[in-house]
Symmetry: C2
Subunit: 627 residues, 2 copies
């Protein structure tokens, strides 16, 4: 790492992962470099042949940590991250750079000199689609265009770039040019994700690429059920935080451990400025719930909200670069009283704000009546919809009720409208659901919402464990991820109790990486099991450091091991800390293998059969009592 960091910047987590290096894989269709993490492994000592070893190939890992873990890149939170996608965006010829901010509120803030000290210093002029143009990835996809974003994602999703290179021999670029707009089908190696496949999934609405043209710092990623399951981490500002670096660090920290997107749920006076800092320094897409800020602008009085004020908030945030908006347009007037007999009523903040507005005015939800107006804004910046489930259940007893499923049907109706505008759309889901009622959520979502990606909060599978709701919800999240949910919104141990600290955020992210990866394994995502196998092989061969380094959290794995056997020697010991030298089952297994080999058994099917013959003979002689 270069030694030019200021004291403030040291608040940002930058150290590379142990025994890991950043690698960049070049595209073939576009001039792109896809960032990945490569974990280097030690050699296997061959049992019984002293001094002989065989190498273990490095393992490539999908990496959300962004430039922060690359020691060759200078980071200055005051300048923001490199604008990776800016030339891709401008190169398409369908955007214009505005002379000034379009929103009233953004303009007000920009001109407020008391905010100068707080303000990000290098704000670029916002981009917007030229009149009549649509800059959404869905729009390009439907025109048959494979964007740089799509190729980036295809390479990134495959992870195992070693195999990929071997299998393809550079063919996919040629194929993509020869058959634009056509799936490779039989030509695609089994399980390999091609740029064309990415395009087709986005065109069909089955996947979204959150990629606001004003957030060029973000590395392209995709949310869809035929890709790796993604996770979102929520962050918010806190009243006591003293520096912008600390706010940025929250996002960096969450991405470091695996957050694929960040939702910024900050509140309070300076959220506009805080958001700017976060977006400029975030390598992953940023989502928000614009109604929260709108409510602050009317001092918390839901009934004072208006479409005009909300519209201005959307434009304000779109021009800052927010990649997806949670919009609670499905909270219809007629659904609200269906919640009155629930144990926990309406628990979504956005949902209760809109319910209160509807009742106060006795009018239909303005997000619903102005939905097509919102679409016009979304497609001018490529902001994706995350259609909010404002009526999600807040406890087991309220799961899968008429209010929840009524709203889901409306979200399906709205999805079709968004797609008419080529606006990318995902659907938010619950919440608190017992295990036996989870699948119905997925089935209904797929049916009502035309296979638009599902994005769920957990679900929590019981209410009785406050303090452990990362776990109650990881159970539901893993299951619904397997069933087809594309992104899982994390839950921290502090859910229902308080604001998460740094440890809670990490616990939440790691727990959700577990759920997402378990789902990837169950879905058979190509390459997902490669990491499990490499780690298990390391475990079996007592390559402790490799086991730590391949794990989701190398620091904790090493720390836990060192509590029991701290000496460095123990990390190459041929027994593990649980059993001691005589009891270790892995050591005994190795003896079994050796024995089997010496006696011409095991290792090959033919030999196994020989062994089976022998034991069948024995069985016939010695175990008559059971036959």
């Amino acid at each position: 790492m270069k030694n030019e960091r200021t004291p403030n910047e040291q608040a940002i987590s930058r150290s590379p992962f142990p025994s890991s290096r950043k690698v960049y894989v070049k595209g073939q269709l576009h001039d792109i470099e896809v960032a990945m993490r490569e974990v280097l492994l030690s050699e296997t000592k061959i049992h019984g042949r002293f001094g002989e070893t065989e190498p273990n190939a490095p393992v490539t890992i999908y990496d959300t940590s962004g430039p922060y873990t690359d020691p060759d890149i200078d980071i200055d939170v005051k300048k923001g991250l490199p604008r990776l996608r800016e030339q891709w965006v401008t190169g398409r010829g369908d955007v214009e750079q505005l002379g000034h901010i379009s929103s009233d509120y953004g303009t007000l803030r920009a001109h407020d000199q008391t905010l100068d000290a707080l303000r990000f210093a290098h704000i670029s002029k916002p981009y917007r689609a030229r009149p009549g143009m649509n800059v959404s990835q869905m729009h390009y996809a439907r025109k048959g265009i494979i964007t740089p974003e799509m190729e980036y994602i295809a390479i990134r999703e495959n992870q195992r770039i070693d195999l990929l290179k071997e299998q393809l021999n550079g063919q996919y670029a040629a194929m993509a040019h020869q058959h634009p707009g056509q799936s490779f089908g039989a030509n695609t190696p089994k399980g390999y994700i091609t740029p064309e496949f990415v395009r087709a999934e986005v065109a069909a609405g089955r996947a979204v690429i959150p990629s606001n043209i004003n957030h060029p710092e973000s590395e392209p990623m995709i949310i869809g059920r035929n890709f790796l399951v993604k996770i979102n981490a929520n962050i918010g500002n806190s009243a006591v935080t003293s520096s912008i670096e600390e706010e940025v660090e929250k996002a960096v920290w969450a991405c470091r451990w695996g957050a694929d997107t960040i939702m910024d749920l900050s509140t309070g006076k300076n959220i506009h400025e805080t958001r700017e800092w976060i977006i400029r320094n975030s390598p992953v897409p940023i989502g928000t719930v614009p109604i929260y800020q709108a409510l602050e602008k009317v001092n918390g009085k839901a009934e004072d909200l208006t479409w005009e004020l909300f519209r201005d908030t959307l434009i304000e945030q779109a021009e800052q670069g927010v990649d997806y908006f949670t919009i609670h347009a499905g909270v219809l007037l007629r659904y609200v009283p269906l919640t009155a007999k629930r144990i926990t009523g309406i628990v979504s903040r956005g949902g209760s704000i809109m319910a209160k507005w509807c009742l106060a005015h006795h009018q239909e939800n303005f997000l619903y009546t102005h939905f097509e107006d919102i679409c016009e804004i979304m497609k001018a910046y490529d902001v994706a919809f995350s259609l909010g489930d404002g009526l999600r259940p807040g406890c087991i007893a309220d799961a899968n009720d008429a209010a929840q499923f009524g709203e889901l049907e409306t979200l399906g109706e709205l999805t079709k409208i968004a797609w008419k505008h080529d606006v990318q759309t995902i659907i938010e889901g619950p919440g608190h659901i017992p295990m036996h009622m989870i699948k119905e959520n997925m089935d209904k979502q797929l049916a009502h919402c035309g296979e638009a990606p599902f994005y769920t909060l957990g679900p929590l599978t019981t209410d009785i464990a406050p303090g452990y709701d990362h776990i109650t919800s990881a159970i539901g999240a893993a299951m619904i991820g397997w069933f087809g949910t594309a992104m899982l919104c994390y839950v921290t141990p502090k859910e229902h109790l308080g604001l998460p600290n740094k440890k809670d955020v990490k616990d939440g992210v790691i727990t959700y990486k577990i759920a997402a990866h378990a789902a990837d394994l169950a879905k058979g995502h190509p390459g997902a099991q490669y990491r499990d196998n490499a780690l298990s092989k390391a475990r079996f061969e007592f390559r402790w450091e490799d086991q730590f380094n391949l794990s989701l959290d190398p620091d904790t794995a090493k720390e836990f091991h060192d509590e029991t056997l701290p000496a460095d020697g123990a990390k190459i010991a041929h027994f593990c800390s649980m059993c001691g030298p005589n009891f270790c089952s892995m050591k005994i297994t190795q003896d079994v293998r050796d024995y089997a080999k010496e006696n011409g058994m095991g290792e090959t099917d033919a030999l196994s059969k020989g062994m089976e013959e022998k034991s069948r003979e024995f069985l016939q002689k010695g175990s008559e009592i059971y036959l």
Copy 2:
């Protein structure tokens, strides 16, 4: 609590849970008192009617903490717990109290004066079945006898003793006497567990009651898929522990947080003596893996194991009061080479010991060839089999392979032999299994093992998260519990890395209580959701203390809350710490309810319909754009 405890005894966790008291419910068939925990709740303040309140009924909770949380009971680890079941055992007239210990090893230890300081001072003479008698609960059940253990379990499993009393009006006792050996069927209130149902399930082999006649201190509990899902916690001695109290505390600590059984996996020189202390002070059944101790007796050389030595170990432990034995009798010679090509070979310690023995002698597993001899011991003390899965997979890649399922078929064969002897039997299961392969394990187990209870370790749903394997495995545990597994063996965060400390044990137990409870909800166990509903109602009504007290871990819930809003006033605040006064969705929901009520909407179905009419009207007028 009485003030007579010595300093040593203060090492034992005894404080009652907050706002909880121990209650004892009398039996109707037998002179028994069933221990439960009752959580007292505060009153609900009625919104809008100042000073008016309505009470919330106390919630009864299944309680594994034993006498330790009853301040009226004196605890002296040197004397052991009250011998609750001793008169039940002797009252059946089929046991004799032996003049001395029957095992050679036990005798040797008893006569070794160097162990006097270590030895439990109040060792009772062991009980054993009179010649020709069978004292297993299965034997009684098949003869149509409802034992006190069975009635205790029926009351305990229902939890909601309040409803139970109302519904039954004391009828079940009469019915049980009128129809011995016959299911109540239509007479049983829906979802209520009767003593006769318990008997029938045990008779069928679908449930076991681990209850060694030499462990009369244990409170009766049942393991079967038509009952609450149970969890086991493993404990072991540690080389550095200074006192017996600390060893006892490990068991007490695990039971306090919810362990239904304890497996004592202690190793080393004094395991015989340590086990005595643990059993005498354990309110839950104790399981062991006798082959571990047998291996120590031959200095860790698996090939030196003999049937005679193993048999003596079984008798030694049975006379101490171990309630179930893990026996790896399914590791057959012919299965061993099937593991040679696995990534992680054989990871079960018992499995690898037996595999090594088989290969060394080229003979069939002596646990298999002597299985009926073992049954004779089991039924003389009522020790239950836990048939070990010595060939369980140790990583995702090895899941559901021929070795694993071959062994499972053999365990099914052995189950039928055990049942021929009326010996209670459960079947151990994996291990590491990806989500989509879990159900096949349950289906095959039910098919091969005649519905004998399944007892699984997790399963872990991915290999890539050492340090978090309580979570990777809770996902699999909750799912397999829902599918029908009767008991879940916990996994701590230290799995694969080191020895769990006190925090790890608590984390493991609470995580597994979550998995078990999530499974109970999904299975629709009568009464399981009552606690969720009570907690969620408390949460919605901002009764913070009630929310903490109803949770699995009140201490952590309160501590997490206090980190953000430490003042006592905050715990009665009508907003929560995440949102503040304007943003709180629960507050807004309450406003919505009030509004709905004022306007004649909500609360009743009729009014809801009125509201729906109104909004349908509105919709027709104002939202044509979407129709």
